[in-house]
Amino acid sequence: MLVLKPHHGLFLITLLAGLLIAVSSSSWFILWMGLELNLMSFIPLLSSSENRYPAESALKYFLIQALGSSSLLMASTLSLFMSKAWTSIVLLSLLLKTGAAPFHFWLPPVMQGIDWFQCFILMTIQKIAPISMMSLILTNLSSLTLISSSILSATVGALGGLNQTLTRKILAYSSINHMGWMLAAISVNEQMWAIYFMAYSLITLSVVSIFSSKQIFHINQVLTTNIYPQTTKMMLFLSLLSLGGVPPLLGFFPKMMMIQEFMSSQLSLLWLSILLASALLTLFFYLRVANSSLMLSSLKTKYSLQTNLSNFILSSSLLNMSPALYPLLLLISY
């Protein structure tokens, strides 16, 4: 259930402006400014006057991001006289801002307090600027930090999600896990990261839009709420499987490309295998969301409001099936 208020439009525009400033900046100071603009316009998007949980989340988010920004600002001044260490500080602060392990702790509690729409922005749009900045400062020294963070993110995302029963937390840990993949993608090249990020955003959009339209916050609700039309159920599970990277679906392809890139660019296979094993674990907890309702029980509450999916949700879920159209590429290429 997407509720947009008039001020949301304004802050969304400034949020995107901050993002664009940060991505296209030429100096660390302008970058910091863009990130601050982005942060400052996301805070009003989070908070709501009707509920105290978003406010708490917004405060947590602000504190963490402010710490990241300030250390980023510190690093940009330190760059004058600490030629080696400042990139590490920048990298660490950017990792904190994106919520990559070992600085991921803030992400699940923040996500737990906010609505699905804001969750979606937090999981996707808010990651563009820091990750694209990270690709700028990759050196031999900082890439070791990056690899460790990537491996940690993948593991923590996979293991942390195992214990969760709340859908927003599951998606938060899924986001941390995918951060591991995206950090690996930027060490391959930026294009790879862009592809991975696009696919991840689309799949997340399809999952979140269904959760949001049915207001599902706990995995019990998948079983008991009014997921009445069977197509909704199918779409949800299709999206979850896609998020886990099951072959014919969209989520599989960026992962496959990553595997190929790892092979061709001689990156560590241990790293890749940890990423893949973690993807398996995430698939387990996605399936746990789907399994009971798909396989065991089909509860139809007769008194529930029978709402059909909007075309937007349907089409966003169908995006997961887009690999079925890939053979059509032959028509273009020949």
Binding site: K60, L63, G68, K84, F103, F105, P108, P109, L159, G160
Partner: protein, 569 residues
């Protein structure tokens, strides 16, 4: 659907019969070959051969299956899945047709596997545990033959082609080691010769029309037909083994039928016995005689099964012959047809079975063979008449044993018309076939004793079979004194146990041990569940780190910052 299938199949029968007649009188055959792929000088071709043999067999198969399909319109009336049944039977006929017209081992495999698959699906048509077991036994026994044919295909790669009919006149086939033995093995599984006999009575779990089709002209004759086609290349040890096993099969089935009380199983065992006869004469080298008996047998065996189906259908669904008796007063037409079939089976003069069976026995007696097989054949001939007259006593002439309230009758014309048609075939079929297949008669020269032997054992067998089973009050069942022997003889020499329990026992127990130790044991503990609990412990610790205030997160970040930056300075 039963009517249209019948019309179509009878049309097919007519066409192939006419082409058979033309081919016989003008003495030619058609051979159609389509090369699909050629590699390494080995060409994979789809071949159709239309000579008098395949056309005659095709006409018989389609005539009988047409009759059977029409019959099942009455027998299966009211069945929910009747259309599925009809299509399956048609699939059966189609597979058999492919097998008949292909002289090529690859295309034979198509029909062969089709028969195996459809027979499985038809045996398990009635969904219960017994049918499932019978179907599995049937499918897996036939699977051995499939594998043998697959290996033969691999071996025939040596020859540059799979059309064995080209090589029959040369020694090429017998040059390839093991090929003939494998083909013989395949034929023995399909025709249920001795180590693989168990599936044939078990397949009686199928609906009766299927049994009528399977046991007359399609499934079980496929093996015989394959060997007839392969005939000239058979030789040496495989021929000898085939002779021995076929004689034993014939004897074993004839003996076993005398102790069986299930109507359909008695007829199934008689099929087994007749298959033994075909295989015996085949292994002596008389392919056309085997083919002749195959066709004549197809006519009266289909008739017998139809009558048996009619009887069980109207006698309240029970197949136990002890529950029948005196049926001639109630359903005269079915019982007359059954008697006709039975007499033809015994080789009563001038019925269908007489021409082929008498000829086979006399040719056998006049050719070179060992004494063991000679006595087995003589005994089996007597036993056939013996169990036939036993059956006649139990069903036709004995006392009325049906339920006191019953409505058995012959009123269903859909079931009686095919019986009448095949009954007519059982009367005249043998004579016609012998005139058509053999342009000149066989020369048989036997001493008087041997000549009368067949007649003698038949008369004796008939007498014994009828009299030994006569039963009234205060008779003692003296056969119980030899219970162990009876058990051995009456259960097909323990073959059903041997081919189910003995072959699966070791594998199942080993599998169970592996399952207990592996899948349900160590692998489960240290594999799936171990990994799960390990991951959950890790997850728990992560959760512990997670449950902190934002202050702690920030301090953690600063600690990392100082630690990493410090290490770099």
């Amino acid at each position: 659907m039963y009517l249209s299938s019948m019309l179509f199949l009878c049309l097919l029968a007519g066409v192939s019969l006419v082409s058979f007649l033309i081919m016989t009188f003008k003495d030619f055959s058609y051979f159609v070959e389509w090369e699909i792929v050629s590699f390494n000088s080995c060409s994979l071709v789809m071949t159709l051969v239309m000579d008098w043999k395949s056309m005659l067999f095709l006409s018989f198969v389609s005539l009988i299956s047409g009759m059977v399909l029409f019959y099942s319109g009455g027998y299966m009336a009211g069945d929910l899945n009747m259309d599925r049944f009809m299509y399956l039977v048609l699939g059966f006929v189609f597979s058999m047709g492919i097998l008949i017209v292909s002289p090529n081992l690859v295309s034979i495999l198509l029909g062969w596997d089709g028969l195996g698959l459809v027979s499985y699906v038809l045996v398990i048509y009635y969904q219960n545990e017994k049918s499932a077991n019978a179907g599995m036994l049937t499918a897996l026994s036939n699977r051995i033959g499939d594998v043998a044919i697959l290996i033969s295909i691999g071996l025939m790669f040596d020859m540059g082609g799979w059309s064995f009919i080209f090589y029959n006149d040369t020694s090429k086939i017998s040059d390839i080691g093991g090929l003939v033995i494998l083909v013989t093995l395949a034929a023995m599984t399909k025709s249920a010769q001795i180590p693989f006999s168990a599936w044939l009575p078990a397949a009686m779990a199928a609906p009766t029309p299927v049994s009528a089709l399977v046991h007359s002209s399609t499934l079980v004759t496929a093996g015989v037909y394959l060997l007839i086609r392969f005939g000239p290349s058979l030789g040496g040890v495989s021929k000898f083994i085939l002779l021995l096993l076929a004689s034993l099969t014939m004897f074993m089935a004839g003996l076993g039928a005398n102790f069986e009380t299930d109507l359909k199983k008695i007829i199934a065992l008689s099929t087994l016995s007749q298959l033994g006869v075909m295989m015996v004469i085949l292994s002596m080298g008389f392919y056309n005689l085997a083919f002749f008996h195959l066709l004549a047998h197809a006519l009266f065996k289909a008739l017998l099964f139809m009558c048996a189906g009619s009887v069980t259908h109207h006698a309240g669904g029970s197949q136990d012959i002890r529950m029948m008796g005196g049926l001639i007063y109630i359903m005269p037409l079915s019982i007359t047809s059954m008697n006709l079939g039975n007499l033809a089976l015994c080789g009563t003069p001038f019925l269908a079975g007489f021409y082929s069976k008498d000829l086979i026995i006399e040719i056998f007696f006049s050719s070179f063979m060992n004494e063991f097989c000679f006595w087995l054949l003589a005994l089996a001939t007597g036993l056939t008449v013996c169990y036939t007259f036993r059956l006649i006593y139990y069903t036709v002439s004995g006392d009325y044993n049906l339920a006191s309230l019953g409505c058995a009758s012959d009123s269903d014309y859909i079931m009686t018309w095919p019986m009448i048609c095949l009954g007519a075939g059982s009367i005249v079929g043998g004579a016609f076939l012998s005139w058509l297949i053999f342009p000149s008669p066989y020369m048989v020269c036997l001493p008087l004793g041997l000549k009368l032997l067949a007649l003698g054992v038949s008369l004796l067998g008939g007498f014994v079979g009828y009299v030994l089973n006569l039963m009234t009050e205060s008779y003692q069942l003296s056969s119980l004194k030899n219970y162990k022997l009876l058990n051995f003889v009456g259960s097909m020499w323990f073959m059903p146990f041997l081919s189910t329990y003995s072959s699966s026992y070791m594998f199942l127990t080993t599998g169970q041990k592996y399952h207990q130790a592996g899948d349900a044991g160590w692998l489960e503990f240290y594999g799936a569940q171990g990994a799960y609990s390990g991951f959950m412990v890790c997850s728990k610790y992560l959760q512990l780190a997670q449950d902190n205030s934002v202050k702690v997160y920030m301090v953690m970040f600063l600690v990392w910052l100082i630690f990493i930056t410090g290490s770099l300075i």
